[in-house]
């Protein structure tokens, strides 16, 4: 069971969260995308062995979405920060 640091609530048990999906950007203007671009956004995801940026939702806590940088092999967590926010570097943390 992972221990996930919610950017607002601090470290909480994995059971409090739901995994959303990979942290991909929604096209700003869907109407201007080609079918290929749009279906790429809809359906195609990388499946990296290693570092992965993903969105989690703190369902049983503060109801915030945030980006989690998780290693898919070791589960080491490199960072957790609000969506579209700059990752906090180690010096600042």
């Amino acid at each position: 069971m992972l221990l996930i640091s919610c950017p607002w609530c601090g470290p909480r048990d994995e059971t409090e969260f739901v995994y959303g999906e990979a942290a991909v950007e929604r096209p700003a203007d869907p109407a201007s995308t080609t079918d290929a671009e749009w279906t790429d956004y809809l359906y195609f995801r990388d499946n990296p062995k290693g570092e992965h940026k993903e969105l989690w939702f703190h369902r049983s806590g503060c109801h915030r979405w945030f980006v989690l940088e998780r290693n898919t092999v070791t589960h080491a967590i490199a960072g957790a920060y609000p969506p579209k926010a700059r990752p906090v570097t180690e010096d600042e943390a």
């Binding site: 607002w8 609530c9 601090g10 909480r12 048990d13 059971t15 409090e16 049983s60 806590g61 503060c62 109801h63 915030r64």
Partner: protein, 208 residues
């Protein structure tokens, strides 16, 4: 047709009623207390908006807590941090709609909201020397008094529900800690079944 006086009803009413006639268990290390209905108001607003914070201060005489897990107290109400833009204000029974209306009025022109949710959660109170142990059997957070003391509150899974757990000092001071549990109304009976199970090793007893 008689016009009956409307009465609020708690899903736990029958349980507490039955407990009143049960003999007390002298060996009980943890008690659950029936707590009367309370007014509850969901307050939404941006923590960096001074007008919003001032409006709450003006209406309720309280500074909303801006840090996770903190509870602010005023004479007639308290404010529990639930999220960076979400608080639950707790007030006396029947006052929820009034407080919500007053806040709404003060929020005119602001990006802020106050919603009466007095019926959304039921409150019960856990006291006794093993109260923290009972919580620890269903909560993954560290709820030992050293880490989670009076004046703190968290929203977290507790047993089979998601609860708001508020730790407070009993009056007179030194009487130990109490835990107010705010449980979603629809699940409160199921939660009670869990509480009876989790409290069994500590001889959980109902104090009406």
């Amino acid at each position: 047709m008689d016009d009956p006086v409307p009465r609020p009803r708690s899903p736990l009413a029958d349980l507490f009623l039955a407990a009143q006639s049960a003999p007390p268990d002298d060996a009980a290390q943890v008690f659950v207390q029936s707590v009367p209905f309370v007014g509850q108001v969901a307050v939404r607003g941006r923590p960096d908006d001074p007008d919003f914070l001032n409006a709450v201060r003006r209406v309720a005489g309280i500074d909303l807590p801006l840090a996770a897990g903190v509870v602010a107290e005023a004479e007639a109400c308290r404010a529990i941090w639930l999220g960076p833009d979400h608080w639950m204000m707790v007030t006396v029974e029947g006052h929820g709609p009034v407080l919500a209306a007053d806040l709404r009025e003060a929020f005119a022109g602001l990006f802020a909201a106050a919603i009466d949710v007095s019926g959304a959660r039921m409150r019960s109170r856990l006291i006794g020397p093993a109260a923290a142990d009972v919580l620890a059997s269903g909560c993954r957070m560290d709820v030992t008094p050293a880490n989670f003391g009076a004046g703190h509150a968290i929203q977290s899974p507790l047993g089979n529900v998601t609860a708001i757990i508020h730790c407070l000092s009993l009056e007179p001071p030194g009487d130990g800690l109490a835990y107010d549990l705010y449980i979603p109304r629809s699940q409160v009976l199921s939660f009670w079944r869990w509480l009876e199970h989790a409290g069994r090793p500590y001889r959980l007893s109902v104090r009406a």
